[in-house]
Each structure stands twice: as structure tokens, then as C-alpha cells.
Symmetry: C2
Subunit: 211 residues, 2 copies
């Protein structure tokens, strides 16, 4: 889109059959090619297994284009999933604080991100996940490897992954009820009230003894 976008640093001479290599128009075409390749690679390899170099190669552009257009792997993932935020930065903010308020912090952060888009971005993400196996796989791989992996690190030894996914189930349901089904009065209850009510339920899932 930007007229000052740099061109691809290494332009190959002729594209071999079945590979898209060589000089490409800078801008939207490059971004689209990277996003398409990213969706394929992230859903096949998972977030951590995906390699920026492989995505760039599949898109026929230099790996430097990923940093240029998306600021790196995290930003590329967020763009491929149409996320309004950088998920790793948000996760770092959630994990930085007292463990006994982790549940409330999760709800507060979640609502500040998605309420900020009027809920439309969450609804779009949900539609995508519900309709496309590839999107469901990308989200599953990402939350399992990155989000739940880190949450599990802080919650102790008793079934940390199950605790993290229970927490995830409440959050995806909150988003569904608030932004997609628009169930009242939940949809219009203020974020602080919801954080105070839902936070302790997440806290129980994460850190309290479970049957």
C-alpha cells in the first residue's frame, strides 16, 4: 500500500516451475502472498514450529519483508488471524503481576482488547474459526503452544494444561456471548463488573484445588 515500500532485496532470475520466486511488486501483493503462506505454515507447523524463512520462501519474497510489513513473526500471525493486537505482548502484560489476581487480569485485558473494536473483530475471528478448519487449527496451535504453555508454567503441577484450557473455554464463551450472540444483560455489563465476577472463576480453574 505504501508508495515508499522497499523492493525485494534478492530478486531471482526466473521462477522455477511450481515455485513463486523472483521480483514481485512491493506492497499489497507481497503482503497478501505472505499472509496466505503464513496461514498455510502456521496451521501445518503450529506457531512455534513455523519458520519465517519458510513462509517467505513459499510467498516468493525475502524474509526481510516479514519484518518490514509485519514487524516479525508475532505480527505476521496476528495479521494472518486478523487479530487487533499482538498476542505475545498482551500475554506478557497478563502474566506480569500477582498470581492471585491472574484471573481478573485476564478478563480485564481480554475485554479491553475486544471491547475496543466494538466486538466486531472478535465476531469476525469466531466466524473464521467456526467456518474454516485451517483457522481453527491455527488458533488451536497458537493458544496451545504459546498462551496455554505460558499460563501452564505459572499455575503449578496439577493438570496445568487442563486448567489453561478451562480458562480458555470461559474466555471464548464470554466473547461469544458478548460479541456474537449479544446476550443481555451480559453484552452491556461494564468491563470492571465482569472482571470482578468472572475473574474468581478463572482463578479457581487456574490455581485452586480441583476435584
Amino acid at each position: 500500500m505504501s508508495p515508499s515500500a522497499p523492493e525485494q532485496p534478492t530478486a531471482g532470475p526466473v521462477a522455477p516451475p511450481g515455485r513463486r520466486r523472483g521480483r514481485r511488486p512491493a506492497g499489497q501483493d507481497t503482503k497478501d502472498a505472505l499472509l496466505a503462506a503464513a496461514r498455510t505454515e502456521f496451521s501445518a507447523q503450529g506457531y512455534q514450529g513455523a519458520r519465517v524463512r519458510s513462509i517467505a520462501a513459499a510467498a516468493g519474497v525475502d524474509a526481510a519483508m516479514v519484518n518490514h510489513w509485519f514487524g516479525g513473526k508475532e505480527g505476521l500471525f496476528a495479521a494472518a488471524m486478523d487479530l487487533p493486537i499482538n498476542p505475545e505482548a498482551v500475554l506478557a502484560r497478563i502474566l506480569d503481576g500477582a498470581l492471585d489476581q491472574l484471573g481478573e487480569r485476564i478478563v480485564r485485558t481480554f475485554l479491553s482488547v475486544w471491547d475496543g473494536t466494538g466486538g466486531g473483530a472478535f465476531a469476525a475471528l469466531l466466524r473464521s474459526v467456526a467456518s474454516h478448519e485451517q483457522a481453527a487449527t491455527m488458533i488451536r496451535e497458537f493458544v496451545t503452544e504459546v498462551v496455554f504453555g505460558r499460563l501452564a508454567d505459572v499455575v503449578g503441577p496439577d493438570r496445568p494444561q487442563l486448567r489453561a484450557t478451562l480458562c480458555g473455554s470461559q474466555m471464548v464463551g464470554l466473547g461469544m456471548a458478548r460479541y456474537v450472540i449479544k446476550l443481555e444483560p451480559l453484552a452491556s455489563t461494564d468491563a470492571a463488573t465482569l472482571a470482578a465476577i468472572i475473574g474468581p472463576n478463572l482463578q479457581r480453574y487456574l490455581t485452586e484445588p480441583l476435584p
Copy 2:
């Protein structure tokens, strides 16, 4: 579909412009017409406001066809939403028991219904709700009027509707995580364990003091 389906009892002579009246082939055409009319009426009027006679008239068939093909209004709604169960019968089962085990009963019943379809029916319902405003409206009207209305009756005077919708958010999220995103280990955890873990969180939403 059934060869012994009765024909429409009252066949009008000529269909007036813009109305589909008169004799129709019994069977799939009748069912399809009723389902289409039901989706329109339920999403416009809500579950309780919808009238079986209006749906039948819009479909151009006698109201007796609703009982014949769907067993009544509840069955017509379930079929229009592709639900694997009669929601009012399930609700009656959930509400019939000790109040202090209501949360666990909700989880157990929910999982027995949807696990029974391999989760595919829930995923299909979710896709429909996420993609079609009309489906989201039907579900919203139904759960608000019928499910949450009855739940609210039993949970006491403090914000009963909010409590019911919080409970709904956990359940839709459980379905989403288990059947659509297929988050492990939640997706393969046995139903009894999940009921024991999630039940108390629902119970807190429904009957315990909230901030």
C-alpha cells in the same frame, strides 16, 4: 418423507398473489416450507412470541402440519435450529433436582446431549450462529426467553438474568473449546470430570453472592 403423510386438511382454491396457499405436496416440501417460515417467525418474534398458526399460514399449510411433522412448537424450533434434542424437555430435566447441584447438572446434561452427536451438531450450530444474523437472533431470543427466564426463576433476586447469561457464556465456551476448536486436553477429558470441575463455577454464577 413418509409415504403415509396426511395431506393438508384445508386446501384453498387459488393462491392469492404473494401468498403460498392451497394444496401442497405432503412431505419434504411441507417440512421445508415450515422450517423456512419458522426461522423467519422465531427470529422476528422470539420463541414465546412466535405463533404456530402464523408460521403455518406463512408456509401455506394447515397448522396441524406442525404437530404432525414436528410434534409442536418446541420440536419445530429444535428442527429449525438443527438441535439434536427438545430443548424444553432438557431444561425441565436440568431444573428438576437440588438447587445446590444445579451447576453440575447443567454441565452433565449439556455434555450428554452434545457428546452424543460426536460434537458435530454443536459445531454446526455454532457455525450457523456465527455466520447468520438470523440464527444468532433465534438463539438469543430462545435462550433469553425460555432457558434464562426459567433459570432466573430459581436463582433468587440478585441480578438473575446476568447470572443466567454468565452461566450461558461458560457453556457456549465449553462447547466451542471441546467441539469446534478441539482444545486438548479439555476436548478429550471425560464428562464426569468436567462436570465436577466446571459445575461449581456455574453454581457460583447462579446462586452464590457476587461482587
